[in-house]
Subunit: 332 residues, 2 copies
Amino acid sequence: MAEAAVLAEVWRGPFMESVHTGHAVICDGSGQIVAAWGDPDAVVLPRSSSKMIQALPLVTSGAADAHGLTSEHLALACASHQGAPMHVERVNRWLRDLGLDDNALRCGPQVSRDTALKLDMIRAGESPCRVHNNCSGKHAGFLTLAQHLGAGSDYIDPDHPVQMACKDVFETATNEETPGFGIDGCSAPNFATTMHGMARAMGWFATAGQRSDGLSRAATRLTEAMYTHPELVAGEGRACTRLMRASKEPVALKTGAEGYFVAILPERGLGIAVKAADGATRAAECAIAALLVRLEVFEAAHPEVAAFLSPTIHNWDGLATGQIMPARGLLV
Amino acid sequence: MAEAAVLAEVWRGPFMESVHTGHAVICDGSGQIVAAWGDPDAVVLPRSSSKMIQALPLVTSGAADAHGLTSEHLALACASHQGAPMHVERVNRWLRDLGLDDNALRCGPQVSRDTALKLDMIRAGESPCRVHNNCSGKHAGFLTLAQHLGAGSDYIDPDHPVQMACKDVFETATNEETPGFGIDGCSAPNFATTMHGMARAMGWFATAGQRSDGLSRAATRLTEAMYTHPELVAGEGRACTRLMRASKEPVALKTGAEGYFVAILPERGLGIAVKAADGATRAAECAIAALLVRLEVFEAAHPEVAAFLSPTIHNWDGLATGQIMPARGLLV
């Protein structure tokens, strides 16, 4: 197994204080590796970076159309949103349309990461709900599919038809047999694949518009939903939203817990998977920004790109004390 | 330069999801390396793990005694406290005794990490003060020394007598010429040294009781203050406090930002320095716990030790989804 490669350096004054290693793979639509750093065969849980794969059965089953889901619903199904009012209100409306409420969600409650809403809820003495969980859109999608299939309410059980459908499309998109799953932060199964498998899946999404089968049409619809509604996929201030808005061309970006990040580049027919081996979000954000600068999808000088590519580190008094920088090998 | 060694693994279900590498050195009082992992020559900023060194001039100058400082003051001078009422009230009283207030502190304001106080302040619409900064005790010590020396108020200037005294004792304790400094989270200079240098300094502290010079007597006084008041060095729920309380013998423990951790073992005459190369606190906590289990200072089965040595990872719904585990080579 190849060693992890350096992805990002953390500097403080004249010293490299910390360093992040990991794996990154760029794949084309045929699954061929275009470029790779670290170990393409490393088996990793892609966590929330697999949400657009998990949303495929919602579309291919006909559930999305039967329930009149819009591109906003589909973006939320692929989202790790920050539980801002724009997300919470839409997911609550979606649940009402299904004849359900917060209790139907099987994700745990999570404090909103929208600062204003969080502070308002603290001042009002309100507890976070399940709908505030960053995965509540994915779970609303699971509930929609479960209802459409006439399946039971325990939609996070690995043997439930919803999760069996997720596993099936995961293996199709990655073109690998999954070695198994871990339980995600939202209690749903999260299937493992290699870095190559995940980049292959993103390359498959990126070239879906060139194919006419139902699964590929669903992939195109989900990709378009993501880059059409960047604010629903994450939220104001967050990497996916800011970087999708800053891109020179349509790209779908998705973060995952423990340092995962993926990109779908429909105009290039390329997919990217990044994993910071230590699980650091700051490293994954820096590395994905660097790879998209390398591919000339991003301008390094764009302030929103620079905010993740080479962010300044400030201390409690607002002084600039350091900087994160991508490994030079990612950029050129 | 030797590679970083594996310190800790992060597992989710049957998969190792993330892995942390870094450096660790155990030194005796003569500065000899007893055991090492990774690169003892790696140059690192020890961040808040150097606070007991930065507090030495406060004692050796006579400032501590002239101002009637107790062991509680000295523990706070070495602390990264969580801004709980017990910390804030004591530092505010210390400042009043100096004829000063919050405005004299040069650290920036930081939101209290004491949950009850933080929520109370949000509900009351109160902004965090500088005294809530985790370094406010260190800064109160700096102010005491500055006043004692009749020096100016800009005590964080690298050319100020306070910082020049800190640099001098830092080089004495590490027995290395420092290659320079970075600016810390609290705006004070933080001097760099090798992993060996920092472990040597901790070994020097651990054996200070065997020497009669003034600097060594100050080191003993600070070490004793730390393990006598574990709740002042960090706070309820935090690693330093919980692990010092769980120890079978007196030890002084101190975390630092970006994955640093040190231990002073007076009964063994040993010092330890740990750095997670990627800056992860969870890895540094796991590794220091493992090394202290190795030395039989901690019981692996003690629930407070296990909480850092092999913590269970829970998701938003409270389900156990994984576990952090130390590298086997640290334990045996």
